[in-house]
């Protein structure tokens, strides 16, 4: 039981990172990036290629995969997203990013086939034994990685000039434009950052789960649940929701049955949204329009 809570918190950290990327993109651009799940899988495959074919350590490989995913994000935003009009933007973005997800899934299927693979390293198979718990190193390392990257995002948002322009765009796009923020550039870089974190998320996910090109669907439904529960556009909310949900899921799996765990995830979404439509942590008017 306590083991389940600890596991939930550790994996929750990684989901929080992936969800933070998603919610940041929504906040700044009103874009719901349904492709975030497949980006995670793509990130995992990049790590797979680097470690299996080039023998690069999974964590060291992030120095390559994160910038690579940043570029993927920037290109996707530039080619597909920036062409969407202002009208019905959110709805159109779901269609556009869904199309992107299908394309990437198809390409991954061609290159890697549908066979499940997983990432391997010494820290994937070994575990800490503390207070009678059984903690795989990768869970701990993954959590630390997520915490560091989330901390970096926080510092970027609150301590830099660029961060100020992101927050301004998030709160009022046209006012941001009027004080001289280049909102289009902010949007592109934000999209890049939001996608870059999937490289880290994908690596940890791939080291703790086996995956194939279809894994993106399961991931995106979880990530969307987390982001909605946390209140769309709220990073703090996404962190809280990610940890709550993963703990809940793990506890249910132990106490009840693993079969029920994913169900609980979505049941919680329905219950919370019918009570608080703005999400667990959402504020009713966080965004001025």
């Amino acid at each position: 039981m306590i083991q389940a809570v600890v596991d939930g918190v550790l994996t929750g950290g990684v989901y929080a990172l992936m969800a933070a990327g998603l919610t940041l993109i929504f906040g700044v651009m009103d874009i719901i990036n349904v492709a975030q799940g497949i980006f995670v899988v793509l990130g995992a495959y990049l790590s797979y290629v680097l470690s299996v074919h080039l023998g690069i350590d999974l964590f060291v490989g992030l120095l390559i995969t994160m910038p690579a995913m940043f570029v993927v994000g920037v290109v996707v935003q530039w080619v597909f997203i920036s062409r969407l009009g202002e009208r019905e933007r959110t709805a159109m973005s779901i269609l556009a990013t869904y199309a992107i997800a299908i394309m990437i899934e198809g390409i991954l299927g061609l290159v890697f086939s549908d066979n499940y693979v997983e990432l391997n390293a010494w820290y994937v198979t070994r575990s800490y034994h503390v207070f009678g718990f059984y903690l795989p190193y990768i869970y701990v390392f993954g959590f630390v990685l997520a915490a560091v990257l989330l901390g970096a995002i926080y510092l970027m948002l609150y301590k830099t000039r660029f961060g100020a322009s992101v927050r301004a765009s998030l709160q009022d796009r046209s006012a941001a434009r009027l004080v001289g923020v280049n909102v289009d550039r902010v949007a592109t870089i934000t999209f890049g950052i939001g996608v870059a974190v999937t490289a880290a998320g994908g690596m940890v996910y791939g080291a703790t789960n086996s995956f194939n090109p279809n894994t993106g669907y399961d991931l995106i439904s979880r990530l969307l649940t987390i982001v909605i529960l946390g209140g769309l556009g709220s990073i703090g909310g996404a962190l809280g929701a990610a940890v709550c949900m993963l703990v809940l899921e793990d506890v249910v799996a132990v106490v009840w049955s693993p079969v029920w765990a994913p169900f609980v995830f979505f049941a919680a979404l329905v219950v919370v949204l019918s009570v608080r439509p703005t999400g667990l942590f959402g504020r009713s008017s966080a965004r001025a329009q």
Binding site: Q171, L178, V179, G180
Partner: protein
Amino acid sequence: MTDYEAATPADPHADASRPLLEVSGVIAGYGGGDVLQGVTFSVPQGSITCIVGPNGAGKSTVLAALSGLLRPRAGSIVFGGRSLVGLSARQILGTGLVLVPQNHSLFREMTVRENVEMGAFTVRDSAVVRARLEAIEEQFPIVRERAKEKAGSLSGGQQRLVEFARSLMLDPTLVVLDEPSMGLDPKTLRQVFATVKAMNSAGRTILLVEQNARAALKLSTHGIVLESGVVRLTGTGREVLEHPEIEELYLGGAVSDRLGLRRDGLMRR
């Protein structure tokens, strides 16, 4: 990415005989039809120029075109001898023209001070920003008093003043205000109008849009009546204020009960 420092600010003394801002034949819209159907007017240096007109006339659209939020389909906008058409909002800011929009535009989750500092976002030199902030705090005590509060927690009138404060951070030549008095009680309204007057006395040219037409025109040196996307009348503030038809239509003249009917008649021409 033109920086504020790098941009060439409009030189108000370039040619004293020319107006600071000349708008001519501007046609613009939002993708559907054209909202502005050839708008022509000018704003003299040092004036308070007021645009009045019914809801939906296109007043805010004119200001959007001036500030670079909306690109005109045709026509010219010359500010201090420099064409603004095709420039980005950021570049236009650098020429010395700033817009305070109709809807509240503070960053609600940022503090009052952060908001005012955002007014100088394009200035990279933090010493310059600090000096400007201090000068602004002298003018707008609320900026210092409520410095650490979230902008979203201020009342509508207080937010307006902070918006004014933010708009002055780049020391603009022309301040464009879209319905600054909207939703304010009479006392706050007088305070806001007094601030407008003070900004003008400090040497800034003001272009404002107002529904409170009578009070605004009294304050203004020049008036413009915009209707259905065209300028119907221009003149001094007094001329517009005393124009019989205008008085009847917008200023609540004797026949205010027939106002709706008469306005319809006018729009159909």
